[in-house]
């Protein structure tokens, strides 16, 4: 709504162009579909992360919450529970952890960084206790549904991609076309002003964190569709990867500025980079280096443009 997503879009297109020239295999329907499939989970986590960062918060627990969701659903199905109930229960647990973070941040005014860092530890422990040292292969049709694909021309589209894109549309609508979204931006931009004009700041923060928890639960489902094996060691870097996507997408870590489409583009940039560097046969160690440079450049750009406004 506020920051143009043009910069990140140009970066994405430049990377696509470079890799298309560097290797024939990059710009092929099958490979492009793979790039998007690989970004579905982080892309979904990054939606919640964007909402929270817009309120000037941060979420270090999102990957942990999603993994717990996969373990709960996976274990319940393996133990012959009803798949619908298992999935529902996983969504409820993920949402309640979002709610917990929201209550601590909004009512007790604790810093989001500390709240979600603490929750990450707690959730990781619960995940391991629930998993009892094992992983849960998912054979159930409902849980692996997001991995199913249909073809549009030569391109294979998974239902997971459709779900992620749908979530982007819904949250974009909420953030830019409703009063709730404006309040989210205003709280991140000037919390005291938001309070003075009568915005229910606590309630809005609570709703953001709770909704983000639900999104992480859906992210867990998409993860089971992508790799049908609930593994307690998966998605270790979900939190940092999602923050990377948000930042590269041009959203300010100081809150109040940014756009959700930027986050989607940021997710795709990271995914294209990994895929393209692998295809061109460059040592994968370079992937993290380039991603790191992108993150620092994005934050530096934000800082400089904010400095100009003073």
């Amino acid at each position: 709504m506020m920051t143009p997503t043009l910069g990140p879009l140009v970066v994405l297109l430049v990377f696509c162009a470079v890799f298309s020239l560097a290797t024939k295999t990059f710009f092929a329907a099958g490979n492009l579909s793979l790039v998007v499939q690989q970004s579905v989970i982080v892309g979904t986590l990054a939606i919640g992360q964007t909402m929270i960062i817009l309120t000037a918060g941060i979420d270090l627990a999102n990957g942990g919450i999603a993994v717990l969701g996969t373990i709960i659903a996976g274990r319940m199905v393996v133990e012959q529970q009803n798949p619908v109930l298992s999935l529902l229960f996983a969504l409820i647990v993920c949402t309640s952890f979002g709610l917990t973070a929201g209550l601590l941040v909004s009512r007790l005014m604790l810093p989001p960084f500390i709240v979600t860092l603490g929750l990450l530890g707690i959730i990781t422990a619960i995940t391991r206790l629930t998993a009892q040292g094992g992983a849960f292969p998912v054979t159930d049709d409902l849980l692996s549904w997001p991995g199913n694909a249909f073809n549009v021309g030569d391109t294979s589209i998974t239902y997971g991609m459709v779900v992620m894109f749908g979530l982007y549309v819904v949250v974009w609508y909420l953030l830019t076309q409703t009063a709730w979204g404006r309040h989210v931006y205003a709280i991140g931009n000037n919390r005291e002003a938001a309070r003075l004009v009568g915005i229910p700041v606590q309630a809005r923060l609570l709703s953001v964190y709770t909704f983000a928890g639900l999104l992480y639960g859906i992210g867990a489902w998409l993860a089971l569709g992508r790799i049908p094996n609930a593994d307690p060691n998966a998605l270790q870097n979900g939190n940092l990867d999602s923050i990377t996507a948000v930042v590269i997408g041009g959203t300010s870590l100081f809150g109040g500025r940014g756009s959700l489409w930027g986050t989607l583009i940021g997710t795709l940039i990271v995914s294209v980079l990994r895929n393209g560097l692998t295809l061109t046969g460059i040592d994968p160690l370079w992937q993290d280096l380039v991603t790191g440079i992108l993150v620092i450049s994005a934050v530096a750009l934000d800082q400089i443009s904010r400095g100009k406004q003073r």
């Binding site: 076309q177 404006r182 205003a186 000037n190 938001a194 004009v197 109040g256 406004q309």
Partner: protein
């Protein structure tokens, strides 16, 4: 051609008392911030409230805008007793407050800031079910109101951070003016501004008054007070020391009453008139 105005203003005739505070007392432990303080605001006037630090002017204002609940005393709005438990209560009765620090969201545009917390939705199912904002109507009404207030700003959809400090405070003042149905309270609105920028805000205060909305202006700045105030209430030691006007007393006399160098009860005013 008529743009629907947001607040339907039905103001009482000039000179009638809009807001009255009687015998307001507020203690914080051993400290008596307000000691039977009175205040009357009349329709169509700018009433300046001045006083030294600790004279009780901010506490009195906080009582009037609902931020502080008094221990004793009565607040009457158009003759009816009211009990504000929060600023929202006061606002719901048509009292808007402008704060010293610029209460705007800088990254958001002017129209968004004007309607922040009071957004307009589309009529019909789009608004009711999908909660869709009516952005064009908000922009249109924001532009209309700014034109009415004769306050000139860049495009209504430019970010507030692109504005000067005076223009930003103008946005905050305009917000209050647009939504206030009975009166506007301004707490040191020019304290953070330069000379030229203060001028813009003072002009805005006059325009608001001329449109019929009474204004309570709290200020340290005597030249500003003498420029816009119709009447001046001088606070000292938690109560009203004098009620005067720029015509009756000079700046230095007002300062003398404020600091206790001159006697300043209603008798002083009577002496001055005699």
């Amino acid at each position: 051609m008529t743009v629907e105005t947001i607040a339907k203003v039905t103001l009482p005739p000039k000179g009638t008392v809009v807001l009255e505070a009687r015998g307001i007392t507020k203690r914080y432990g051993q400290v008596t911030a307000l000691d039977r303080a009175d205040l009357e605001l009349k329709a169509g006037e700018v009433l300046a409230v001045v006083g030294d630090n600790g004279a009780g002017k901010s506490t009195l204002i906080k009582v009037l805008c609902g931020a502080v609940v008094p221990d004793e005393g009565q607040v009457l709005l158009e003759g009816h007793p009211v009990h504000f438990r929060s600023p929202l209560d006061a606002r719901n009765l048509g009292i808007e407050t402008v704060y010293q620090d610029l209460a705007v969201a800088p990254a958001l545009d002017i129209a968004t800031n004007l309607f922040l917390g009071r957004e307009l939705r589309h009529k019909g199912p789009l608004g009711t079910w999908l909660r869709l904002l009516d952005k064009s109507r908000m922009r249109r009404e924001a532009q209309h109101e700014m034109d009415q207030l004769k306050f000139h700003l860049p495009a209504i959809d430019s970010a507030v951070e692109k504005l000067s400090g005076g223009q930003r405070q103008g946005v905050a003042v305009a917000r209050a003016a647009i939504f206030a149905r009975r009166l506007v309270i301004m707490d040191e609105p020019t304290a953070a501004l330069g000379v030229r920028e203060s001028g813009q805000v003072l002009n805005l205060i006059r325009t608001i008054r001329d449109r019929g909305l009474p204004v309570i202006l709290i200020s340290h700045d005597m030249p500003h007070v003498f420029e816009v105030a119709d009447r001046i209430q001088i606070m000292r030691l938690g109560r009203r020391a004098a009620l005067t006007s720029p015509q009756k007393h000079t700046m230095s006399e007002v300062v003398a009453i404020m600091t206790g160098a001159a006697r300043g009860d209603e008798a002083v005013e009577a002496n001055g008139a005699a």
